[in-house]
């Protein structure tokens, strides 16, 4: 009979374990708080990629457990999916980077042609059709490390 009870207990526990929902930290750093409020005391800090067990959900907060401690975390900081690796600009920039000059988006003319726009329509379209990939490259070449950002945010 004892075996029966043990088996039944194990069975129940096992089902419970399968029903757990997990959350992953997506923010670089986040705080596990004692209540669903930014004013609440900090239970502990958590960092990107760490896996939490979701216990309860409200509109803007999750109640979670992590390494034996329970607390609340903003929904902005978590996702049911693990964080993806950072994407390189070069992986998606391809041919655009070869053209570092200010140019008119050549496809605009064909777009206008396909739409059958008259000249006045094309003129209006062309107002927004200058694409400056040279300046975009300057914007993309500003390099600031995560550590520098962290130091900056800690010293305000």
């Amino acid at each position: 009979m004892k075996k029966l009870i043990l088996l039944l207990s194990l069975s129940t526990l096992s089902v419970g374990a399968y029903a757990e929902d997990f959350l992953y930290i997506l923010s670089a750093r986040a705080k596990l708080l004692s209540a669903p409020s930014f004013n609440a005391a900090v239970v502990r800090d958590v960092t990107k990629g760490e896996k939490l067990v979701s216990l309860e959900k409200t509109q803007r907060w999750f109640r979670v457990s992590y390494k034996g401690k329970e607390g609340w975390i903003s929904r902005l900081a978590v996702s049911p999916h693990p964080p993806m690796k950072r994407k390189s600009r070069l992986a998606s920039a391809d041919v655009d980077l070869k053209d570092s000059s200010r140019r008119r988006a050549s496809a605009i003319a064909s777009t206008a042609a396909v739409r059958g726009l008259r000249e006045d329509g094309r003129a209006r379209l062309s107002d927004d059709s200058i694409a400056d990939y040279g300046m975009l490259a300057r914007m993309e070449n500003v390099n600031i490390s995560d550590n520098e950002v962290h130091r900056f945010s800690q010293t305000k």
Binding site: M84, S92, A105, I144, K156
Partner: protein
């Protein structure tokens, strides 16, 4: 007795097995549902960045980029402090100042954020700069333009918006891609975001400010000042400020954030922008 025990155990084992399968199915269904509505693939991200680059290049074709490296660096540090909390670690967020006197800020998918010098001139401290940038970051993290124009990567679906078009190399694909970029430009410079997207971006911005330990009332203060001041406001592409300010005030009150004492970083802001606007 042994036979009875064996039978009972077998029944329990069957119950256990079926219950487990059921639980797994429930869990799988829940996750599948979540995936169906929210799953973003590597290809989706690459396409979003490519699309965003084209929009960003058009913005820079329309308004000149500030070449002040100190100001650019400062705006990037503030913006990246906010973006680190924003839940899109796969994106590199980049911030730029536009040489323009009007008051506005823009964002393109994939992590590109722009703010005019005119907008910075109206600010009184760093938390207000963080608030304006957080609002734009929120448009990106919430994929407002991406969702509206169904920007997706390659898959086998026949109903996936730009999916096959962007992956293809035919002229029609390029035209369709550029039409979507045209449409995004219209959202940014003519029509504006949907009202609910603007309100949603404000709400996300406030939470980002709080998570970054900036004064969460900064957005409210800035919007109220812009609202009061005139024709230079950004009403053309944003909902009326009264509605926005009211929604912001409601959230601050509901979350108890109107009483939080976080920094405005006024001194650093004053030092960093002095003589640069």
């Amino acid at each position: 007795m042994k036979k009875t025990l064996f039978t009972t155990s077998a029944l329990l084992l069957m119950l256990h097995t079926s219950a487990t399968v059921f639980a797994e199915d429930e869990d799988f269904r829940k996750r599948s549902h979540h995936h169906a509505s929210d799953l973003v693939t590597e290809s989706d991200i690459q396409t979003e960045i490519k699309f965003g680059r084209d929009v960003a290049a058009r913005i820079l074709g329309k308004y000149p980029l500030s070449l002040d490296s100190d100001l650019t660096r400062y705006v990037n540090l503030v913006g990246k402090s906010i973006a680190q909390q924003a839940g899109r670690p796969e994106l590199v967020f980049r911030f730029a100042v536009l040489e323009a006197d009007f008051v506005n800020a823009y964002s393109a998918p994939g992590g590109y954020v722009f703010i005019s010098k005119g907008a910075i001139k109206k600010m009184q401290d760093e938390s207000e700069l963080a608030a304006a940038l957080a609002h734009e970051v929120a448009h990106i993290t919430q994929r407002h333009i991406v969702k509206e124009f169904k920007i997706k990567g390659k898959d086998d679906s026949s109903t996936s918006g730009l999916t096959k078009l962007i992956g293809g190399s035919q002229d029609a694909a390029r035209v369709a891609f550029n039409q979507a970029v045209d449409s995004a430009m219209k959202v940014l410079f003519e029509r504006g975001y949907k009202h609910e997207d603007e309100i949603n971006a404000d709400q996300e911005a406030i939470l980002l400010l709080a998570a970054s330990s900036y004064d969460p009332t900064a957005l409210q203060r800035y919007l109220e000042r812009i609202h009061k001041s005139s024709k230079t406001s950004s009403h053309k592409t944003h909902p009326p400020s009264t509605k926005r300010v009211n929604a912001v005030a409601t959230l601050l009150r509901e979350e108890g954030l109107d009483k939080v004492k976080y920094t405005t970083a006024k001194e650093r802001f004053t030092t960093s922008v002095k003589g640069k606007l």
